[in-house]
Amino acid sequence: MNKQVTNILNKESFAIFLRAFTAIIGGYMLSNLLATLLSYLLPNQAGAGAVTGMLVSYLIYAVIVIWVYSVKSLRDIWRHLFIISAACIIIIYQLIPEKIL
């Protein structure tokens, strides 16, 4: 295999790795944030909010993974991931029960 082909291959496999990383790790983090946000917004009687958040988290996760794979530009994905995550964190920080901090 000549050098040029190897380079392209490496670039391509790195892109594949990067996208998978974004989907698995980024998706996990954002789904946790959104699920937590949801658990705060719902009535949390007897842990119901937390349970609902967890029940829904896997659906959110799946949607995020599919979204990551359907958008062409990784840069767009990251920008959106960053904006949504930041918004979640800000709202969560406002709502977080004091006793936990």
Binding site: Q45, V51, L55, Y58
Partner: protein
């Protein structure tokens, strides 16, 4: 969405579907096969302990409880807890459990649990061989083996997530899911595998989605615990607070008061219950805080109302009054209700034998869906590689791992049963060695294609392993005949269906593997393109004839 964008979306979903399937296919296949075996865990365990007494039909529970109480008085007169499991439903033995107070060297108090299976007639404990049984097979589908539980939960959850994505993307990439469902093109290699994959995926699709999503939910308190921490804080203590919140505590489970009191016998409660509920209905009965003024007797009937298990009743252990009835629908919230329903559906405890077989077959179809997907991946690329004349390393790897996984794992499970019969009953650590046998033989089967690939074609290696599998499953009932009394001659004649069913199922498996091996015998080897001119002419002629026939049919 424009047509082009839609095409793009479908294309990227196809890519995601293919690669997520390939990446974790082996682990998912393992989870599906062992989990499916778990639907018959009690029957497998029973088969693996042939020394246990064979009993048919119902025996008076009054008599059984007398036997059990007598034995418990002998061996556990000081114990604070007694439990008696009746042989009813799929549970086939009379089991007693009791706790023993222990003190370790540091003076810390603990509890040690004892279990015995009793012979109904003699009242003596039956000594059966040590075995992992069906339960170990079942635990492995989420706890794996050889590695810490929590790590295993993360691995299996991640794979289940891949499966979930695979299902969703699989639906997306199907333009015509219903048309595909009724399409089967046997004899056309590539199409046959695709059709097989489609049928195995679409027909039990509700089952696949239910089992995958509920499987994720089972482990959500581990994998999504960030959500718990966000409301309750981190650490085990806070997590326990969460558990206390979501599981409503039974009010009647009072601790011991430390005041000794004379307790009524279990038999006297049974008598009272039988007068109301009818005879021989109980699944278990037990007493907590035995010998204390706060003693209570807990029991439940073997009965399912839809998905729900029968109510649990708790009686006062001193005067026999009914204290509490737990209807089982006292979930703390709608969310917990949903969670409970999903987990109950996953486990299928409520399923009678008809439903249980349906679960079993659906599970096997799930394994078949994964297996056919893995084969489809390899075959497609093999066809392309043969045309181009370049075979990638990845393709060779997948082709070989596929064999060691798809046939190798069933072989390893057969070895698990063989080791159970061949190791001496008194062999030390035999339960561990049954499992080691499983994993050693699986490793050998995974290695085998790599070792012989320079000599044999892929098709030949497939056939070899299929023949090994067919032989191992086919001779299992014979081995059972040679080493135990619980062979088909005995079990069929006396109607012990749980035991006979195991042997018969093994024969069916053997026939399936034999059929697959037989089919492969007449199949052209895929790894060798039809290069010889004579063969090429033959193939083109067959194609021509086919085309003529098709034209004539239209």
């Amino acid at each position: 969405m424009s047509a082009a964008a839609e095409g793009n979306f479908r294309h990227s979903m196809k890519w995601l579907h293919t690669w997520s399937g390939l990446l974790v296919g082996t682990v998912l296949y393992f989870m599906f096969i062992t989990g499916t075996a778990g639907y018959f865990n009690d029957e497998i365990s029973r088969w693996m302990q042939p020394e246990l007494p064979m009993v048919n039909g119902s025996i008076s529970q009054k008599k059984l409880l007398n036997v059990a109480e007598k034995r418990l008085n002998e061996v556990a007169s000081e114990s604070s807890q007694w439990w008696v499991d009746f042989p009813i439903g799929r549970q086939l033995s009379l089991r007693i459990n009791w706790s023993e107070k222990t003190k370790n060297s540091g003076g810390e108090e603990g509890e040690k649990w004892h279990e015995e299976v009793l012979n109904y007639n003699t009242g003596k404990p039956s000594i059966a061989r040590e075995t992992g049984g069906g339960d170990t097979l079942y635990y492995m589908h989420y706890a794996l083996y050889y590695i810490p539980n929590v790590l295993a939960y993360w691995i299996t959850s991640l794979c289940a997530m891949f499966m979930f994505i695979g299902l969703i993307t699989g639906i997306v990439i199907h333009r015509q899911i219903f048309k595909d469902f009724f399409t089967f093109r046997p004899g056309k290699k590539q199409h046959s595998w695709r059709d097989m994959h489609n049928v195995l995926s679409v027909l039990p699709l509700p089952f696949h989605i239910m089992i995958t999503y509920s499987g994720l939910l089972f482990l959500m308190f581990t994998t999504m615990q960030g959500v718990i921490s966000a409301s309750y804080g981190t650490g085990q203590q806070n997590k326990d607070r969460f558990y206390d919140d979501i599981y409503s505590q039974g009010v009647a489970h009072k601790g011991a008061a430390g005041i000794t009191a004379k307790n009524i016998t279990l038999s006297s409660v049974l008598l009272a219950v039988e007068q109301r509920k009818g005879e021989n209905k109980l699944s278990y009965i037990g007493i907590e805080n035995r010998g204390d003024i706060n003693a209570h007797i807990e029991l439940a009937a073997y009965d399912y109302d839809g998905l729900k298990a029968s109510e649990i009743q708790i009686y006062n252990g001193v005067n026999g009054e009914l204290q509490h009835t737990n209807k089982g629908d006292e979930s703390s919230s709608a969310a917990m209700n949903f969670y409970n329903i999903m987990t109950v559906l996953h486990e299928g405890d409520f399923a009678n034998y008809f439903l249980r077989w349906l679960y079993f077959i659906s599970g096997l179809m799930g394994a078949g869906m994964i297996a056919s997907g893995m084969i489809l991946w390899a075959n497609k690329r093999r066809e392309r590689a043969n045309k181009k004349g370049i075979v990638s390393k990845g393709l060779v790897l997948v082709e070989r791992v596929n064999i060691g996984t798809i046939v190798g794992l069933p072989i390893a499970i057969a070895i698990y049963f063989w080791v159970n019969r061949l190791l001496p009953a008194s062999f030390a650590g035999r339960a561990d060695w049954e499992m080691n046998g499983l994993f050693i033989s699986w490793a050998l089967m995974l290695a085998y294609p790599f070792c012989v690939a320079h000599k044999y074609t892929i098709t030949k290696i497939w056939r070899d392993q299929l023949i090994i599998a067919a032989a191992l499953y086919g001779f299992l009932p014979v081995l059972n005949l040679l080493t135990t009394n619980t062979h088909l001659g005995n079990t069929l004649a006396n109607g012990y269906w749980a035991l006979a069913g195991f042997d018969l199922t093994m024969i069916v498996f053997s026939l399936c593997f034999s059929f697959a091996a037989y089919r492969l015998h007449y199949q052209q080897d895929v790894t060798k393109p039809a290069t010889s001119s004579l063969q090429a002419i033959k193939v083109s002629r067959v194609k021509q004839v086919n085309r003529i026939i098709e034209a004539a049919e239209q």
